[in-house]
């Protein structure tokens, strides 16, 4: 039986893995591995061009098979999050193309994708309003909250699974996605737990950037 998990799994990342992309990262959260790349600002297609802002396009590529409706759902969630954190007003009539490639599914693909995109945006140097950290937590059948579940816990069945993303300024909620039903008290508890865990991810971003620049300066 799994013991109650109160912290997130090990985070690892390698930035600037792609030579042609403006920003790229290979990010892993426990067994979940995701690669994200950012190309931008690019020339936008005329149909997609916006006169006052940059157009954000997100493509999510699953490991096996063609992208379907489920992938469109994930793309919309990441796209609207990026619209909020990128200062799109600074680059009107251009576009930014973000691609997320699933490398390995260890249980929390949505939150790993959002975190990877945030690191890739940091790597690309696009102006950002704030950073975003996403955390997934699961309420199992015995009403226990498991933070950052691994794929085995997910497969065992759950009452509800939540993914929350928070901003780096006031730690308010940017994104929320849920599966399953719980009473409001449990929902609030899960949100608070994820909010605390997001601090760990923001610290990790800081360390990743420090490491990247210390390598470049040396």
């Amino acid at each position: 039986m799994e013991t109650e998990q109160k912290s997130i799994r090990a985070l690892k990342c390698e930035q600037s893995v792609l030579s042609r992309a403006d920003g790229s990262v290979m990010f892993s959260q426990g067994n979940t591995v995701v690669m994200a790349s950012v190309y931008g600002p690019l020339e936008a297609k005329i149909q997609k061009e916006l006169s006052d802002r940059m157009y954000v396009e997100v493509n999510y590529k699953p490991k096996i098979g063609m992208p379907g409706v489920a992938e469109r759902g994930k793309e919309k969630l990441v796209k609207t999050t990026c619209n909020h954190i990128i200062l799109t007003n600074l680059h009107p009539r251009t576009a930014v193309c973000i691609t997320i490639q699933e490398m390995q599914d260890g249980g929390t693909l949505l939150s790993a994708s959002i975190n990877a995109v945030c690191l890739a945006l940091l790597d690309s140097g696009l102006p950002l309003q704030c950073l975003v950290a996403a955390v997934t937590c699961l309420v199992d059948k015995k009403d226990k909250i498991v933070l950052d579940p691994c794929i085995r816990t997910v497969k065992e069945g759950y009452k509800a699974m939540f993914t929350f993303a928070f901003d780096s300024q006031k730690y308010n909620l940017i994104l929320s996605h849920c599966e399953g039903q719980v009473p409001y008290t449990l929902f609030q508890e899960a949100m608070e737990l994820c909010q605390k865990a997001s601090h760990i991810i923001f610290d990790f971003y800081r360390q990743a950037v420090i490491r990247k620049f210390s390598k470049e300066l040396l």
């Binding site: 469109r72 990441v78 609207t80 996605h177």
Partner: protein, 299 residues
Amino acid sequence: MDDSLSVGIREEHERSCLERLIDMATDHKTLQPLEFYKTFLDRKSRPDGRSLLEFRKVTVNAGSIGTADGSAIVKCGNTTVICGIKAEIAVPGMDEPAKGFIIPNVTLPPLCSSKIKSGPPGEAAQTATQFIAELVANNIILDLHTLCIHSSKWAWVLHCDLVCINLDGSLLDACVIALITALKNVTLPTVTYDEELDKLICDSDQKRPLEGIKQPVTSTFSLFENGILISDPTSEEEQLAAGLTSITMESTLVTHMYKPGGCTLDEKQVKKLIQQSELKAKEIVRLIEEVCLSSIAER
């Protein structure tokens, strides 16, 4: 005669002043839609006269499509969604041999809004379909085991087609109400599986409704900067907003808080929205039960 003439001239003058004011307001609305809208928000009101957290009138009609096994039409203000359900029998999947299927599909034809173009389903239709599919997948609306006829041999498949014929904001709200009302309206023929003969015996005269349909209700809210929250946005309000969130409640259980990015929310605002959604959910559940009772009486 002089008096009536001067009164006539004064009326003409007032009418032309009024027309000029209306022209100015229309210009302001076209050139600076957000500023125009903010003048209403500052007075805690909206262009259609609602208060900030007031929902539009919801009209529900069940069983209007005779050829479908179950159907419903829902109007949330101007947003109109039709749901039609057709049932067929199929072999259950290998990984879940005791479960039937509910296959939702949300269609946004170009006639519903000027923003929708003809061609393959766009992002809005696909994300709405995915939202409904997730609601169905977690046994939230109906336990899929009740759709199984004989484990690993035969199960019911319910194809739920949701067509929006007028899009004016809050698409997900209308879709969920339409789906639940249509499911409650479904009658399936009694099917028994004869094991010895390995045949399905279908009795079309004995029709029974589905059982155990739960009633989650979705409420959409638009978020503006400065912490202003408005409920049940129209399509214009959705465009001007800095963020959007749809909260699905089933009585007191939080079923889904769908917040795809956008403006941030703090804990107090989340609590307020959930309370508003709970109130709306109670009203809508009452409305659906009334409609279903009257449609059963008609049958």
